[in-house]
Amino acid sequence: MKTSEITAAQAGLIGCNTCSLLTHPVSMEHPGHCPRCGAKLESRRPNSIQYTWALVIAATICYIPANLLPVMNTTALGSSEADTIMGGVIYLYTSGSWPLALIVLIASVMVPLGKLIALAYLLITVQRGVKGGVRERTRLYRMVEFIGRWSMLDVFVDTFTVAMVQLKPLMSVEPGLGVVFFAAVVVLTMLAAVTFDPRLIWDSGTEIEVRPVAAPKGHPSVLNEKSHA
């Protein structure tokens, strides 16, 4: 992709991540805080690639016990049974509610795995400076950001099953160790989506015509604040 457009970083400007105020910091390395909303100003998220890799690797490690360890232990009239996430899906399927089985399967097994693969793919393509598919990769990133929360589904299912079925000594359900690893996968991948900076996709993926940079005409500088109020 070739473009004659200009990014804020090339113009020596920073757009605030929170309130989108465009500022012209004295130093791009230490831009300080946004005068409007107080957020830390960052041209690019610092050490974005390293942080995101660390979180993706940690989540991948947690993904294994999350799927192998039981998430629930059901005790009914003396006999006890341990259920993994896949066990829960199979239970829903055999008890006749296949749409729910499908929802849990997608949210608990496929979405976390898909997220890990997608984030690793985004990281590798940025590190290698891949040029193509910039728009598509941005779209993939937005999907990861949007869909991540739904993996929390099984944590809520387990929590409220445990909370409801406390009818000792008749029947009780206890949470298994798997659920904490599962919650960790969801939280770690959500954090990874935050630390990954989508602007890096565009930095490495676009060939930008280098041209002498002057501050763009009429950009809202921080000193003419009265015109905004």
């Binding site: 473009t3 831009p31 300080g32 929360r149 409220f160 445990v162 406390q166 565009w202 604040e225």
Partner: protein
């Protein structure tokens, strides 16, 4: 209103936001990110989100204080609340999971609504003091961790699983959560953060670390 130059948060492209008609959206021409949207009611842009947030505030209190569902089997009965779910996880040896559940189902939605309510009330008469901007930033940072809609679906799945074993009755909180699942996106759609940002007073210490204007 003057047009504003912004950098796209997803691809950093500098661009000018055109003047928008009510209900319009401006997308980044390069990556498609929605950069700005104009309120439907341009004279009182904060009134609709304020009334929705106030409603959500009341419904949220109901959702957290009434039973979520009751269950009975062979003459034994039990009921639970949202925070009761997290508490059961805690006493059953899962404090971390309990914390995640409590945060995403009670604390994050609660703080989001509380901060939004304060922001919307304080920003009614411009200029709004600087702390209003800080508070709006906190509200926005809570938003991705508020997972009421995921919890709602999770409860429904749990209900269907338990329904095989016992009689389950949905409580008042269940309907309250259902209302919140609709109210939260309604607040997000009707609220245009830019309307508040334009009213917020700036921090002059932070502004001092910026260069003087070049134009």
């Amino acid at each position: 209103m003057d047009t504003e130059i912004v950098a796209c948060p997803d691809c950093d492209l500098l661009q000018q936001i055109p003047v928008l008609n009510p209900g319009d959206k401006a997308r980044c021409p390069r990556c498609g990110h929605v950069l700005a949207s104009a309120a439907i009611d341009s004279h009182h842009p904060l009134d609709l989100p304020l009334s929705l947030t106030l409603t959500a505030f009341i419904v949220l209190i109901i959702a957290n204080t009434t039973p979520l569902m009751g269950l009975s089997v062979m003459g034994k009965t039990a009921s639970t609340t949202i925070i009761g779910g997290a508490y059961e996880m805690w006493i059953n040896g899962e404090p971390l999971t309990a914390a995640v559940v409590a945060f995403s189902a009670v604390i994050a939605p609660g703080l989001f609504i509380l901060f939004m309510l304060i922001v919307l009330l304080a920003a009614r008469r411009p200029p709004a003091p600087h702390w209003v901007g800080e508070m709006l930033r906190w509200a926005q940072s809570m938003q991705p961790w508020s997972m009421l809609e995921v919890m709602m679906l999770g409860i429904l799945v749990a209900l269907i699983k338990i329904a095989e074993l016992a009689t389950v009755e949905p409580g008042i909180a269940m309907f309250a959560v259902g209302a919140l699942v609709l109210l939260f996106p309604a607040i997000m759609v009707s609220f245009n953060a830019h309307e508040v940002w334009m009213r917020v007073e700036w921090d002059h210490d932070a502004a001092a670390s910026q260069s003087p204007p070049q134009t």
